[in-house]
């Protein structure tokens, strides 16, 4: 198992590499895994999300326990939406409530698959070989928007807001997902604790089947879906998602900011024009 992280350095540059014993061994990039020879103390660096995905494929209904609870049949193909790349934040970053939205904001602790090389129409073996490693995702949703319009479910909008995709803290290559569990706490109280082995589509199956829909690129992330225990986050509360062997992804929903008036005015003007 290797631990891969991305940081901002003191001069504002971005560095990526393998972390061992408090030091970053820099590599050229996620898909060009060539050491640059630079070794930096991680204490001088600011952690970022461990990759900058071009796309984030987020699965719905991928755990048997949740499918049973929702009384939905297990799907025959991964059911997914795309989260906007701009929604990504790293460990420790703040989730921002959209200025125009006062409703329920929901966490979902998930396993994230990080793609290591271009992958299209891949069979299972090629799909497995295309997985660079695993990370943790907090797939955040403005839940009241999802079915706000009865004629069009707004999955991409509800899950696509800036800061609505926690990602990190690290990518772990060689992680044995089959023995793993996702444990989510809200202000320290356990809310989710489910086994990854309960997945409907395994990571390699997801990559294989999704690669028949979309070409997957290095750094792309598949959020494997969540299971039981999803719930809402109050303003100011902290969600921590832990997968032993990967780490803990912790993000706090900012206390309500007083920016609602300006945005509401912009929105009203746009609607009226």
């Amino acid at each position: 198992m290797d631990i891969w992280m991305r940081f901002m350095s003191g001069d504002g540059g971005i560095v990526f590499g393998r972390v061992e014993g408090g030091y970053l061994h820099e590599y050229a990039s996620l898909d060009q895994r060539v050491p640059t020879g630079e070794v930096l103390s991680t204490r001088a660096l600011t952690p970022l999300a461990p990759c900058a995905p071009g796309k984030i494929v987020a699965l719905w209904n991928n755990y048997h326990a949740l499918a049973a609870k929702l009384d939905k049949p297990v799907p025959a193909h991964p059911l997914f939406l795309l989260k906007s790349a701009g929604s990504v934040i790293g460990d420790g970053a703040t989730i921002r409530r959209p200025a125009s939205y006062a409703g329920k904001i929901v966490y979902e602790g998930e396993l994230g698959i990080v793609i290591g090389r271009r992958c299209r129409d891949a069979d299972l073996a090629e799909a497995a070989a295309s997985i660079f490693g695993y990370t943790i995702v907090n797939d955040i949703t403005a839940a009241d928007l999802l079915n706000e319009n009865p004629h069009f479910p707004q999955w991409c909008r509800a899950k696509g807001f800036d800061t609505f995709c926690g990602l990190g803290p690290a990518i772990v290559s060689g992680f044995d997902w089959q023995a793993g569990r996702v444990v989510t706490t809200l202000d320290g109280v356990e809310r989710q604790n489910y086994p990854l082995a309960d997945m409907v589509f395994s990571p390699a199956q997801q990559v294989s089947l999704i690669s028949q829909d979309l070409t997957l690129e290095p750094g792309d992330v598949i959020a494997c879906g969540t299971s039981l225990g999803v719930g809402s986050i109050k303003d100011g509360a902290t969600v921590a998602v832990t997968i032993a062997g990967i780490g803990t992804l912790s993000n706090t929903l900012a206390a309500r900011q007083d920016t609602g008036d300006a945005t509401a005015a912009a929105r009203a003007a746009a609607n009226a024009a």
Copy 2:
């Protein structure tokens, strides 16, 4: 009105700039609009999609005539999905049928808004100023997948396949959209001919309202939705979408390829594993 295009040059490099009288006046990029001083004959260049969007926001139900035909109320906020960035093809490129999909493939001729600068929580004036120009979109859909699963409408999958977003041929800045019409032909027969003035949300309203959901970045594209006359494309047929003042975007759906068996086998293996 200026015409902006992107090309592949003889050495495989990508050049972007303003086209006038058969010559490309190269610019640094879409958001850094600084001339490089290079002037190239477009005859030596291979046209590409005029930008490489990080995200493509595609609207549903944004024309009064279509809303009336579908008997749906006009929405209060733009209803959108995200098309994958990898779905983009330029004028003249071939639409490929997914190997695993034998169903109906549908064209939608649309106006495309190209963002010129980062835009978040923008009021109408800022939104209007953030529009770099306009292009043409053919928003292609594997229609039978949309409601294949009764529990989850697969918008992102059905519209996200590689080659399912025709974009081009040019971006025109200063284009007067209010007088424009979208004319779509299928193998030369007119199928769509609708006025842009029938839009529910104007381009500036779309940019303003969507910027309150997602930060829009330079090169991002908003596909404004389509109106009456959507239909299916037979294998081998050519769809041409024309907006006078922008140009014609023409793409052919490839004749059926004999690659179905290998992919079907990969799919079956992935499902069975």
